[in-house]
């Protein structure tokens, strides 16, 4: 479904961002991308939604190759990918419901199909009661849920999340992470870049660790779970959902 083969990226000013990275993500898999700032996590995510292309090597996403992908093909691909960022990227002058609807409107969805879909995803993320609230009226966790709802509106095959809990407190982090697990349990693959090693350690998902643009660890290859930082994972703890919020 997603495949990176010997991918490198070099920027004219900042130099090498990625070097010889190869891995695959299977259908319905949950993958953590970890590593320090500047290790190349965001660059890889950009490759996945074809916002950038590797200098050498190839990326395939759902049959679309980074070599040949052009405008319309990329747009069509992105309709099948959900993307979530640390800073939510919501439009401040629109309600939660309008922010979610926006993703359908600008991709030419028929008007009649929009309200039921919007209701469904807002319910799924536990925000049906806050549909008419503006982003400034919502907490960080709630804003991220709106962003996730927007990402889910087109039933993506993969959800790409770039530090989705980076701006959230612990409680909101737990809630958002549980939501991502639920999304994954329903069959959508999740690729999540994160700094939060606690989150990684406390779950059993596959972990890919990057350092200085190189893939230094992939738990799928290691044969057993080993969270970044060297110690072997012994405890897999289920996280409770955020205070019954949805």
């Amino acid at each position: 479904m997603i495949r990176l083969h010997d991918v490198s990226k070099e920027y004219p000013r900042s130099g090498v961002a990625l070097s010889g990275v190869t891995f695959e993500v299977r259908k319905g898999e949950f993958v953590f991308l970890t590593g320090p700032s500047g290790s190349g996590k965001s660059t890889i995510l950009k490759f996945l939604y074809m916002d950038d292309k590797p200098t050498t090597g190839k990326v395939w996403v759902n049959g679309v190759s980074s070599d040949t992908a052009r405008g319309r093909e990329i747009s069509q691909l992105r309709r099948r990918i959900g993307i979530v960022f640390q800073d939510f990227r919501l439009l401040e002058d629109r309600t939660a419901e309008a922010n979610v609807r926006f993703a359908l409107e600008v991709t030419g969805a028929p008007n009649s199909s929009i309200p039921p879909k919007v209701n469904r995803v807002l319910t799924q993320v536990g925000l049906a009661s806050k549909a008419t609230s503006y982003p400034r009226e919502l907490s960080g966790g709630e804003q991220q849920r709106v962003a996730i709802a927007r990402a889910l509106i087109n039933d993506p095959f993969v959800l790409i999340a770039d530090e989705p809990t980076g701006n959230l407190d612990e409680r909101a982090t737990r809630g958002v992470f549980q939501l991502l697990r639920d999304v994954n349990a329903a069959g959508t693959a999740v690729v999540m870049a994160t700094h939060d090693l606690d989150l990684v350690r406390r779950s059993s998902y596959r972990t890919i660790e990057l350092n200085h643009g190189r893939l230094v660890f992939d738990s799928a290859d290691a044969g057993r779970q080993r969270p970044p930082g060297g110690s072997e994972m012994e405890v897999k703890e289920e996280l409770p959902p955020e205070g019954g919020g949805y």
Partner: protein, 281 residues
């Protein structure tokens, strides 16, 4: 539908710049149109004058009729020549008396010379052709003098050329300014919506979909500019007709072309700007 709504929103966000771009397009088309209209009117006048362009060779007194007849035959075979007439002294006198009734008594027989009048074919009445025919007629010894309205024919031609060139030059200069100003309005609109555009891209909106509101914005402003320019030109035309001389206005095709011209300027400004600024988001 959504694109039209977004275009309207963009205009509302920067009303002053929007008005400025409409007015600049209007001015560019006004300059272009005004000189165009002048050129059309001069051409109209030239056509009327051209129909009357004739070269007249005055025949020396006492020339025998055979020589004149031979010359008439020769001149009639020039490729530029449509018609050749011989006007005898008597006919010249009658014509003069008819055309200048109150001075009829002044003219006496023998005062006016006989002449050969030459009319040129349509499309061959340029100053060069007229003067070339005149030169060839001068070669006959019995032709005393050859006259044609050389000065004003040339003046009219020159005037028409000046009007055409000035119209094109000024029109182009204003058009360039219009494209730049439209570009600036679109740039403001693109930057004001940078966040929205980046989200549109992430969720899979096509480039065309993102561009459409801006292009529509350009078309609307351009068309409004075109209409405004036509109004200005029409007012100028009315004023000239009222106080100076009777002139013609653009026909329906040219009016349509003017409005389309405005729309094209608008789209051009949008295209240039949108392409450049979208790449930066």
């Amino acid at each position: 539908m959504l694109a039209a709504r977004e275009a309207l929103t963009a205009s509302r966000r920067a009303p002053l710049l929007s008005v400025l771009s409409v007015v600049t397009i209007a001015f560019s088309l006004f300059a272009f149109g005004l000189f165009g209209l002048a050129a059309i009117n001069i051409r109209e006048a030239l056509e009327q004058v051209e129909e009357r362009v004739e070269v007249r060779g005055f025949v020396a007194q006492g020339t025998d009729i055979e020589s004149v007849a031979a010359a008439i035959k020769d001149v009639g075979e020039f490729p530029e020549v449509a018609r050749v007439n011989y006007v005898s002294e008597e006919q010249a006198l009658q014509r003069a008396r008819r055309e200048m009734g109150e001075f009829a008594d002044v003219f006496e027989s023998g005062v006016l010379p006989a002449s050969i009048e030459v009319n040129l074919r349509q499309g061959m009445r340029t100053p060069d052709n007229v003067s070339s025919v005149a030169t060839r007629m001068r070669t006959y010894q019995f032709i005393d003098d050859v006259r044609y309205g050389e000065e004003w024919v040339e003046k009219l031609y020159r005037l028409r050329n000046i009007a055409t060139v000035a119209g094109i030059a000024l029109g182009l200069a204003f058009a360039a300014v219009a494209v730049i100003i439209i570009g600036a309005t679109i740039r403001m609109a693109v930057l004001a919506r940078a966040e929205e555009i980046s989200i549109m891209r992430l969720v899979g909106a096509t480039d065309m979909f993102i561009r459409l509101p801006f292009l529509l914005d350009g078309v609307v402003k351009g068309t409004l500019g075109g209409l405004l320019a036509l109004l200005f030109i029409w007012l100028a035309h009315r004023t000239v007709n009222e106080y100076f001389l009777k002139t013609v206005f653009f026909d329906r095709e040219l009016v349509f072309l003017g409005i389309v011209g405005g729309a094209v300027l608008g789209v051009l400004g949008s295209l240039v700007s949108v392409g450049r600024h979208l790449r930066r988001i």
